[in-house]
């Protein structure tokens, strides 16, 4: 699948925003501390930037409001509705912290649950696609939720936690390390399944219905040049470098952040520096992970264009 930058930015940034909001909504951070107030602002800004950037890939963004109407059947619509609804408790909580130095635990739990549901809806846009066998699994939603929580936690503990009068920073760092491990373990399960499943049940034989005669091979494309379908669904570049890119994602998203977080615990005087670089590295790793999520996914329509043969660079 073509990895649209707007969608990658949207899913990673709003994911991190919802993760941060989730942490805050559960009551972490003294509501009177300046750091907590800024954290609320950052969480809402990340969510908003993500949502706005998601409209950039639309052909007619001026009609985007219509996307709130079909929540009965469409996960994209549900995601839009939930994103707007979740703003209500989150904005209230942020306002309470900023103007009143207060917090409400009931509203907090409500906001936290709604954050999780919104991220789940985002993931299900992809997880519900039967045409993309790599995505069509519960691991997709699990990994979106895990990365959202992990990045949100890392941002919180690095930028806001200590100043917000939160509990021991060391405990937060250990928590982040555990979250990183869990998130990438889920991702590992997703990748392993994805590489085995390929196009899923569908084959060039089932796509053409000619399997009864024999083995099917594409002789001629409909047109000599690419088209919307091949540009959108049969993205090639990632496949060539797939394993190399996953290794880079692992270094950026797992090895570096964990090593730096351990250093942050070991050297309290340079805590902020090491935590900060760890968080940035984690975000870069998750960004690459999200790029690969799209770029390596095989869409069933590729079978009409030669299957995996069509997906390797032609040159």
């Amino acid at each position: 699948m073509h990895p649209a930058l707007s969608v990658i930015l949207f899913t990673t940034l709003s994911g991190a925003g919802y993760g941060l909001a989730f942490v805050l909504a559960l009551g972490h951070g003294n509501p009177g501390a300046l750091s907590t107030k800024i954290a609320w602002f950052v969480a809402l800004a990340l969510i908003a930037i993500g949502l706005i950037s998601s409209t950039f890939h639309l052909g007619n963004p001026q009609r985007a409001w219509r996307a709130f109407s079909q929540w009965r059947t469409s996960w994209l619509s549900r995601e839009g509705v939930m994103a707007v609804l979740t703003f209500i408790p989150l904005t209230l909580l942020a306002a309470m912290s900023v103007f009143n130095d207060s917090f409400h635990i009931g509203l907090g739990y409500l906001g936290g649950i709604m954050c999780a549901i919104t991220v789940y809806c985002t993931a299900m846009i992809y997880g519900s696609m039967r045409t993309v066998a790599t995505w069509h699994t519960g691991w997709t939603a699990a990994s979106y939720l895990a990365f959202s929580l992990t990045t949100g936690t890392a941002i919180y503990l690095t930028a806001f936690g200590p100043a917000a009068g939160s509990d021991s920073n060391v405990i937060w760092i250990w928590l982040a390390i555990v979250f990183i491990a869990i998130a990438w373990l889920i991702k590992y399960m997703w990748v392993r399944r994805g590489q085995a499943v390929g196009f899923g049940e569908s084959t060039m034989e089932s796509a053409t219905g000619l399997g009864g005669i024999g083995k099917v091979r594409l002789l001629e494309r409909p047109h000599m040049m690419g088209n919307y379908l091949t540009n959108e669904m049969a993205f090639r570049i990632a496949r060539k470098h797939e394993s190399k890119l996953w290794r880079i994602a692992l270094v950026l998203g797992v090895i570096l952040p964990i090593a730096l977080f351990v250093l942050a615990i070991a050297l309290p005087s340079a805590n902020l520096f090491f935590s900060g670089v760890a968080t940035l590295s984690l975000l870069a790793g998750v960004f690459l992970e999200r790029w690969l999520f799209f770029a390596t996914a095989r869409h069933a329509v590729g079978l009409y264009y030669g299957g995996d043969e069509a997906l390797v660079p032609a040159e």
Partner: protein
């Protein structure tokens, strides 16, 4: 509304004969011609006369090569084993593909705006272009590649089954069928109601063993494909040379030359 109708009164669709399609692309061209000036916005092309032309098409023909395969035998009761080679000559199949107007159309249910819908009266899947935001999710949801975004208008285009022809009383009766069907010089495309078991198309599907594309996707396509017929045996594997070299039945002048040059005076048929 992007909920699917529980049942449609008719199931209008196409039956495409892979045996008779000659891959001339006339249906592709006539589809583009009719639909670029018909329902909805034009089907735009980008860089049409340049080095890298692309454009929106609602009907495309792929060409496949199918090779019969031989399998190794497996112990009794275990079916066939792995592919060990080819088991006959490859054949070429031209394969037209447009929207299959699925009964369980995932392109409809994923639409966030309600632009995509399936008509209760005849089962045709359409896009209301005034509501389409061009998010492209319906194209992702379609396994068949039946939907293409128009890069100029930013809305999703798809086969309408020529809704502006089939019900058009301004046209002569013979023209009230989809442009692709009307133009096909080989008679490889048929249009009708597949919900009616006695319609011409239903009978054709029954007689020829019409099938669904990717049934495992659970989309229940309305359009059906008819398989290529079994090949006439052309004597595959028999040596043509041996037969050509034989002068057994030569008679008349050629027979005399043959006998004279062979240095034999034996009478015809004795060899």
């Amino acid at each position: 509304m992007t909920s699917l109708p529980t049942q449609t009164n008719k199931k209008l669709g196409l039956v495409i004969d892979l045996d008779t399609c000659v891959g001339c692309h006339a249906c592709v061209i006539n589809c583009k011609e009719w639909n670029t000036s018909g329902y909805g916005t034009a089907l735009s092309d980008q860089d049409p006369y340049g080095a890298n032309p692309v454009g929106a098409w609602l009907n495309r023909i792929h060409t496949f090569e199918v090779t019969p395969m031989a399998h190794s035998a497996k112990p009794r009761g275990q079916g066939v084993g792995e592919v060990i080679g080819t088991a006959g000559e490859a054949r070429v199949v031209h394969f037209p593909k447009s929207c299959l107007h699925c009964e369980d159309a995932p392109c409809v249910t994923v639409c966030p705006t309600g632009a995509s819908y399936k008509r209760e009266e005849d089962g045709i899947v359409l896009v209301d272009e005034d509501k389409c935001i061009g998010c492209g999710l319906c194209a992702w949801g379609c396994a068949y590649g039946a939907r293409e975004m128009d890069a100029a208008a930013g809305v999703m285009k798809k086969c309408t089954l020529c809704i502006d022809r089939i019900y058009n009383e301004e046209l002569e009766e013979i023209d009230r069928q989809p442009a692709c069907v009307r133009t096909c010089p080989a008679g490889a495309r048929h249009f009708g109601d597949l919900a009616d078991p006695n319609s011409d198309v239903s009978v054709l599907v029954k007689e020829r063993g019409g099938f669904d594309l990717m049934p495992e996707q659970g989309t229940k396509p309305v359009n059906k494909y008819l398989p290529p017929r079994a090949r006439t045996d052309l004597g595959v594997g028999r040596s043509f040379e041996a037969a050509e070299e034989s002068t057994e039945n030569a008679d008349g002048l050629l027979g005399w030359i043959d006998r004279a040059l062979s240095g034999t005076t034996r009478s015809k048929g004795a060899r």
